[in-house]
């Protein structure tokens, strides 16, 4: 085995000592600093871009959700049609009870969001018997002397009769002979003469149906409306319910 030549260690160290002032060293150093800056800058920029992209995506998702076309259906102006003798309106389990006849406007409208029309296929009257007779604490006596005889004045009036399990109704277009038709309570848009789905467009005024619900036989009933409709797929909506008694 042969030993390497001894060229002296002190001399070699000196030979490889970096000269910080050497032009090459300066060039390398500035290059390295520039590269690091570029890298950091790139990382930060990419991170911000991803963030912005994510935010944009989130925003778009939210916007898409907000602008989805849908049906707005609700009962408005619900009121006791015939005045009662009792001074305070009857209540059942904290909920107001209408007696004999309740008058209301059923609002059916596009929710005004999105551009897709809403096609309402049917509007059904749903009735559930709460009690077969009016609980004693409910005083439903109507004040017959307060009724106002108008005859038939209104047009486009829906009258729904609830008698036990039987629900029936008619649509009065006007008082003229031949201008009133029985309706199907499962779909009040369907009369004996025609069935019509209604298409609701975003900018259209809401459609208001004048509806009177009549408790035609004794009992306490819960009544609400449902609608089957299409807007990018079939859906069902329902109104809040109310109680009516006779």
């Amino acid at each position: 085995m042969t030993n390497p030549p001894d060229i002296g260690s002190e001399t070699s160290k000196e030979r490889f000592r970096i000269s910080w002032t050497h032009p090459v060293t300066l060039i390398v150093l500035t290059t390295l600093v520039s590269a690091a800056g570029w890298f950091v800058n790139r990382v930060v920029t990419r991170r911000d871009a991803v963030r912005a992209e994510n935010m944009r995506a989130q925003k778009q998702t939210a916007l898409a959700a907000e602008s989805r076309s849908d049906l707005r259906m609700q009962v408005e102006d619900l009121s006791q049609a015939i005045p009662l003798i009792a001074k305070s309106p009857p209540v059942f389990s904290g909920e107001p009870v209408f007696c004999d006849t309740a008058r209301m406007t059923l609002i059916v409208a596009h929710n005004g969001k999105g551009s897709v029309p809403v096609l309402v296929n049917d509007i059904a009257v749903k009735v559930e018997s709460v009690a077969p007779s009016v609980p004693e604490k409910i005083d439903c006596a109507v004040d017959t002397l307060a009724s106002k005889p108008f005859g038939i004045v209104e047009r486009d009036l829906y009258i729904i009769d609830v008698a036990g399990n039987r629900v029936s109704g008619q649509y009065i277009r006007s008082k003229k002979p031949g201008e009133a038709f029985p309706i199907n309570p499962q779909n009040i848009l369907q009369t004996t003469r025609a069935q019509q789905a209604i298409s609701l467009k975003p900018a259209e005024e809401p459609t208001g149906y004048s509806v009177s619900v009549v408790a035609a036989s004794p009992g306490l009933y819960r009544v609400w409306f449902t609608a089957d409709y299409d807007t990018s797929g079939p859906k069902t909506a329902k109104t809040e319910s109310f109680l009516i008694a006779k």
Partner: protein, 596 residues
Amino acid sequence: MTIHPWPIAVLLSFSLSLELPHQTLAQSELTGQAYINWYQDKFLGGGKRQSYTPEEIVPIKEAEARKDDRAVVRGCDEVLKRDPKLFYSLPMADWVKSLAYIERGWAQYRLTKEPKYVIEDEEKAAEFGNLTAMLDVIDKMLGKYQGNESAEFIDASPLEHYLRIGAELGNSEAARMLGTSLWPNPLTDAEKAYWALVAQGATNEESGFLWDYTIHNRYELVNQNDLESVISRLSPLGGLTPHGPHNLPGRGIAATFFADASLRREYGFNFGKRAPATRDASPDALEIYKFHRAVADLIGRADAYLLVPGSRTFADSHMISMNTQELSGLLSPSDVVVVRCGPLTHMVMVYKVNRKASTVSFVDGLFEFWQPSHNSCITTFDLAPFKYGGYLATVPLADILPMIQEVITYRDRAYEHPAKSAGPNYVTLSQFEHSEFFDYFRVSEVVEKDVGPDEKIVRYMTGAFQNKIFFSMKTDHRFRIQEALLSIDRDWVGEESQTNPLANDLVKSFVVAVTPASSADRSRPAAQAIWKSQAQVPCGSDSDSTVSEAFFGKVDRCVIPLASGNLVFANLKDPYFDRALHVIVTTSPSPGAFKR
């Protein structure tokens, strides 16, 4: 609003002030005339009937405005030929055609100057129940009988027919003419009496004099039985009405004629009737009742009662609750019924109740309410022609009963006068109505009218010689007689040489019955003098005349001072007789101060 206080409003409008003297009061506090004024102002456009031109007549009117009478005739011909089914309804077809006849007649007259065209077409319009045409036809036919030259071409023989149309449709002038002999009237006395009383039945007059005068004279011509018989035959009410349950009074002669006349007027009023396009201010059922009651009170022939299904209690004895079965049994022509099916409420007058067929027929220009297609409470409905272009809406009684909210029915006035004594200075109405005089002469009350805030006139009728004897009481609000007036046909009283014992008895008994106890010692000698035809009782301390001289018409006036007031005998002309004997007992210092 649907019915129909219009006929009453129209009837009243000629005589009622439309001012509201008590506008500061709430309506619930108003009564009588003030309530009527309030109601008319709020719900009936101030008592003025609104008119409209049917769509079919509009182009005819436009042609008339252009003075294009040929176009008017063409337009009318087209309307008259048109199939009735092409109109809004069959009743409306009749009504529009009646208007077309009138327009055509006048247009042809303007084109030809031939007046026959007018009467020919107006006669056709009258057949369709057009009262305007009917009145013109009657006027022309009566003109013929009166020798009017312009009516010479007219055949007046059908006058009775057209008077009947008018009377059937509630025109009081036509009914009055049917009751007179001012034309060759072929009707029997009983029929004349019937129509004369229908004419007066629901008219308003301040003091009730005309009604009193008419009923006295007609009762004298035909007896009560004949009158009741002719009511059964001619009146849509079919006769008098017995009293009902719960102290509901019946309907005697006066209330029957009031109800009869009201029903006829309602029938006539419904021709061409059209509902308002919108819900205007409308009275509620109670307000409607109060209006009918105020009108009945004002006219004074009947009283309005309110029948309500159920068991609700009312403080007012005129408002009666009863079960549906009782209501069903009482329902009768001229009743006003408020009915409801769910949210639909309607008011209508009953024309006919057919208990055998279990149906009710209504006078109803707004018949649409009864269509089973519109009204789920109605199973069957018939709109059938009735008289002179009018229609009745008929539905099953069983359908109606559950719908009834209230029934307003005209019944006898309960002339309830408190039985309290008012002391020695007054005779009360109750005391008079329980007197021997009242009983012996079979006296009945005819009419009672408020003529001032504290003044009331009550008129009576004896059971016989009704057209010879008229008497009335003027009272204050406590029913204390202030002035009693007896007016007798002077010729019926007789002369001293030939006395009428019944007249003597009547006058003597009357004086005794109406003189207050405090004055009895002063009036009794006069009464005895008349009874015994003695002449020695002087008329006051400074008079040379005697009571008998006045009684037999030898002196015009005899005044006997009483404790407060006077006993007066007077011979004069009055609204009843050219020569009348007045016997007046006053309890105030100014005899004869009260207007009758």
